[in-house]
């Protein structure tokens, strides 16, 4: 038994709170006495306390209930207990009333559901893109190690799979280190923190016995990567330092996805062999399902295999095309670094790394001036790669603002509906008031109605969000470039939805509540005596005002898409098929892979339906490019480069203006031949004919053999850069894209093309198969998402405005029936009556536009950076949007107006 047992304090406090006077004293006394007697008699403490609780609560209920039963309906000023009970009655009454008005309830719930559902869905995505950390132990300790300055030209180094990052202060950082530099840094911080290296091999072929090979990203990691990042394992063991030594048995950790695909998630997978780019590796473990590499939001593909860095020559042979080992090469930057730094150690680590970084750069021959200002920096890495990504959150923020406006419109609309219904309920409310219901009591029942509607809307909204999740996902995949983001339901999301629903409910019912709780007398109302409902009309004007920016926004994006489609490309994108083949992914040595392409092109051109085929280093309009410093007649500058195959010009449908095209004759061992475009002629040759002239690309001398017409290179939005086309036969590159021009439909060619590839090099994977049109559409994905979203949202806003206007106009026609009857009896023409009603609608629309147009202009700059070929305050778009709003208003008003015009004067008068 406890040393000093005492009755439950909370129960006693509750009794004191709800009861008063000597009743309180006596009851607390009884309960206490009984409690102590029971405990003294040896009853278990818990039982005694439980009894105390039960008896005290029962006492409160017993004493308060008779009080309450004597009360008039007004219970709002009573304490919380009664208020709660009253609320229960309200809920029941409102639910019953809504069941009897299914049309009203349905429209209100549906519009709230669309508003709430859309916001729920976007919040779910936003959370994953902006907040969700890596599924590893204490992700907050992870840091991404970057360094500055970020300028290849000054450093004279080459990079593999690097990314840059510009911090808010405008400083550029780079992600990559050379292997010797990384090793020196690792030794410098050894014992203090864990510093691991890694890099992504974007496409590798992964094969297991008896299963078709697949293309997956591979992650090369140092031996301590698993100890540092601590990704969860589903099975087997992690990679260790011993696996990452030269000559160690080659091993790999599989992703959960590949484990399932190759081995049906069987534990026997451990110890079996998978082949990565032709090299046999023993599977030692499987990462957990939730781990998808260092990009939790799926902006980069999840790695299918994680392999020791020592296997780079086998798995990523294309990186070492100079033939030298990357492990001793100080001028190729190919290792990225991630660290686990306990709180508070950041500055000490940065300092320790700084000295090593400068010393190693200097040893590598980097100019002293650059080495001296080089500095490492640790960035928060809880979200892995995605920690450094801020491009996706901007469009997402825009989307969430747009959807916030949608919810607002839905609320305004429901408020309007409630007002209209309130008028119908006026008598009922007046009766309630006459029976003694207070103002706050009536307000409460209206607020309860709003919250119930929005709660139902919230439930329907979540269902809607689940139902539309696949659509949303595909929108995001094309719009934001992420694959790992989907809709997932959990309690946090439901809490947000609940909060949204509550806010929406209160927001939409507040105005009606205030309006109808006002005192009024109980009197017989005729139609003429019905209130004019000024608030309802004001709400509608507001709704039109808020809808206008959405409609205008849809217009801006539709025109942007149109402008992008109309961009002069400089080549003919129709009938072109693109795909990538990389012979090194089929186990071929890099120096022997270039020879595959000419044979492949020959084979492709022999296919029926193919007019010509060529290869290209960087496919066009794909947001990638190569560039280099050039020296033309002692003048330095930058030219964009692209390596292309023979028959490039005729395959692409590009025009040769002067000289000759590149051909099979432009081979290895000769001076490199280049074609340059018009912009390059203007920029570097003052418009003089350059054919036969020579200049230097980096350090190599090249000869201009022809001039081609300008065409877009990396993106539709970018101006045509000065460009030089080189012969891929002279440059001998791997990982080229193949371009095939077909005469007929592009859709039927895939099988024939795949067969041709297999015939030339059996087992060689073909990746990124698409048409040039699809490639272009991919780069305008974000604009397409916005255009679609705003069009849908704008249409929704128009529909709600239409419903609202129709309702208010119908109401006003009913209210003015006798007035219209008198007018008709006195000789008013039908057209005059029609105009009488329509004028009212137009005044509303005009008032809405008067607020909406400045709002649209104010909001316009937010979308400026997404538009193309027009300014955000484009007057034409705004005028069209306003015209659409007005026509919708007229359509909504026309039905009631015609009803008014057709009224029979006598009948209308008699209706009074």
């Amino acid at each position: 038994m406890a040393v000093n047992p005492h009755p439950p304090r909370l129960a006693r406090a509750l009794v004191s709170l709800f009861l008063s006077g000597d009743v309180r004293e006596v009851i607390v006394g009884d309960l206490d006495q009984e409690f102590f007697e029971a405990v003294r008699a040896g009853a278990p403490l818990r039982a005694a306390r439980r009894r105390y609780w039960r008896q005290s609560m029962a006492s409160i209920a017993a004493i308060r209930r008779p009080l309450q039963e004597r009360m008039v309906p007004d219970m709002s000023r009573r304490s919380g207990f009664n208020a709660l009970r009253g609320l229960g009655l309200d809920v029941r009454a409102v639910t019953r009333a809504l069941r009897h008005n299914p049309g009203y309830a349905g429209v209100a719930i549906l519009s709230l559901a669309i508003g709430i559902g859309a916001n729920t869905a976007v919040f779910s995505v936003m959370r994953q893109i902006v907040y969700d950390p890596l599924p590893v132990e204490r992700p907050g300790e992870l840091r991404m190690l970057y360094w500055t300055p970020n300028s290849d030209a000054a450093l004279d180094v080459s990079q593999v799979g690097s990314t840059g990052y510009r911090d808010p202060a405008g400083v550029f950082y780079r992600s990559n280190f050379s292997y010797p530099l990384f090793g020196a840094m690792q030794r410098a911080v050894e014992g203090a923190i864990d510093l691991a290296g890694y890099n992504r091999v974007r496409e590798t072929t992964v094969a297991a016995d008896g299963r078709p090979p697949v293309i997956r990203e591979a992650m090369l990691v140092t031996g301590n990567f698993f100890a540092t990042v601590r990704p969860p394992l589903a099975f087997g063991r992690a990679l260790t330092a011993d696996d990452d030594r030269p000559g160690a048995p080659p091993v790999a950790v599989l992703s959960h996805d590949l484990w399932t695909q190759f081995f049906d998630a069987a534990p026997t997978a451990v110890g079996t062999i998978v082949r990565v780019n032709g090299t046999a590796l023993t599977v030692i473990g499987v990462t957990a399902r939730e781990y998808r590499g260092l990009s939790p939001s799926g902006f980069t593909p999840a790695p299918g295999v994680t392999v020791p860095m020592a296997l780079q020559p086998a798995v990523a042979s294309q990186w070492s095309d100079s033939g030298r080992s990357l492990f001793s090469e100080p001028r190729v930057l190919w290792v990225r670094a991630i660290a686990r730094v306990p709180d508070g150690k950041d500055s000490a680590v940065t300092q320790a790394l700084q000295g090593v970084l400068r010393a190693e750069l200097q040893a590598a021959g980097v100019p002293q001036a650059i080495a001296d200002v080089s500095a490492p920096r640790l960035f928060p890495g809880a979200r892995g790669f995605d920690s450094m990504r801020n491009t996706a959150s901007q469009p997402l923020r825009l989307i969430s603002v747009v959807l916030g406006v949608v919810l607002l419109i839905a609320c305004i609309n429901v408020a309007g509906l409630m007002l209209a219904r309130g008028v119908a309920r006026q008598r009922e409310l007046d009766v309630q008031r006459a029976l003694g219901a207070s103002r706050s009591r009536i307000m409460r029942s209206l607020l309860v109605e709003g919250v119930i509607l929005s709660a139902a809307g919230g439930v329907a909204g979540v269902l809607l969000a689940v139902w539309t999740a696949p659509v949303l996902q595909s929108l995001l995949t094309s719009g934001l470039g992420t694959t790992g983001v989907g809709f997932s339901l959990d309690w946090r999301l439901l809490a947000v939805t609940g909060a949204l629903a509550c806010a929406a409910g209160i927001l939409s019912s507040l105005l009606p509540a205030i309006r109808f709780s006002r005192q009024s007398t109980l009197r017989d109302r005729t139609t003429a005596g019905a209130p004019r409902l000024a608030i309802g009309r004001a709400l509608l004007a507001l709704q039109i005002a808020v809808s206008l920016p959405l409609v205008a926004g849809a217009g801006l994006f539709l025109r942007t898409l149109h402008n992008l489609d109309a961009v002069e490309l400089g080549f003919d994108p129709d009938g072109l098929i693109l795909f990538a083949v990389d012979p090194t992914m089929n186990g071929r040595a890099p120096e022997r892979s270039a020879e595959v392409y000419p044979r492949l092109l020959e084979r492709l051109e022999a296919l029926p339906g193919v007019t010509s085929a060529t290869v290209i280093e960087n496919p066009l309009i794909a947001n990638i490019e190569s560039d280099s410093t050039v020296t033309v007649n002692e003048k330095k500058g930058v030219m964009y480069l692209n390596s292309v195959g023979p028959r490039y010009l005729e395959t692409m449908g590009a025009r040769l203006l002067e000289g000759r095209p590149l051909g099979l004759g432009d081979r290895r061992g000769m001076t490199w031949s280049v074609l340059i475009n018009e912009t390059a002629v203007r920029t570097f040759f003052n418009g003089q004919s350059p054919v036969g002239q020579r200049f230097r690309i980096s350090k190599r001398e090249v000869e201009v053999v022809g001039v081609v017409a300008d065409s877009k290179y990396d993106g539709l939005r970018n101006a045509v850069p000065p460009t030089a086309l080189l012969s891929f036969l002279q440059r001998e590159m791997n990982g080229m894209h193949v371009i095939v021009r077909v005469a007929g439909e592009t859709g039927r060619m895939r099988r024939a093309i795949e067969a041709a590839v297999q015939a030339v090099d059996p087992g060689m994977p073909l990746t990124r198969y698409r048409t040039q049109r699809e490639q272009i559409d991919e780069t305008t994905g974000r604009e397409r998402v916005f255009a679609r979203l705003l069009t849908a949202v704008g249409a929704f806003a128009l529909l709600l405005a239409c419903v609202g206007l129709h309702g208010v106009t119908s109401y006003s026609v009913t209210r003015r029936t006798s007035e219209i009857g008198i007018r008709l009896a006195l000789g008013a023409r039908r057209s005059q009556v029609l105009w009488l009603v329509l004028r009212q609608v137009l005044v509303l629309a005009a008032a809405g536009l008067a607020i909406g147009i400045p709002m649209a202009l104010l909001a316009a700059p937010a979308v400026g950076s997404f538009l193309f070929g027009l300014r955000p305050n484009d007057p034409m778009t705004l005028v069209v949007a306003a015209a659409i709003m007005v026509s919708v208003a007229v359509v909504a008003g026309l039905l009631p107006a015609r009803r008014a015009a057709r009224l029979d004067a006598l009948a209308a008068l008699r209706a009074e």
Binding site: I27, G29, L31, D32, Q33
Partner: protein, 109 residues
Amino acid sequence: MNRRHFGEFEQLLLYIVLHLQHAGEEANGPAIRQTIEARTGRIISPGAIYTALTRLESRGFVRSALGDPTPERGGKRKRVYRLRPAGEAALRAAHAAMDRMARLARLKA
């Protein structure tokens, strides 16, 4: 409300107050509740008991006084009830009526 009539629970309370009085015990909350619990197995909250007793008091069937505070009650006073003659008469009348009804129905306890 008919001043002569009361509910089954109120009648029960009157029996108990009378019984405690005959036994020379103080008819306070805990004593009444313990008796009800011991004889009928029902656990009635203090609140319910005082509500009913207050009603009986307002109809003149019982009277009550606040007793002395005792340490085991944490210094809280208790309320002690006594049956008034009107209460005894009403209980007698109700009992007789119930008795007649029981005999009419040949109900044996």
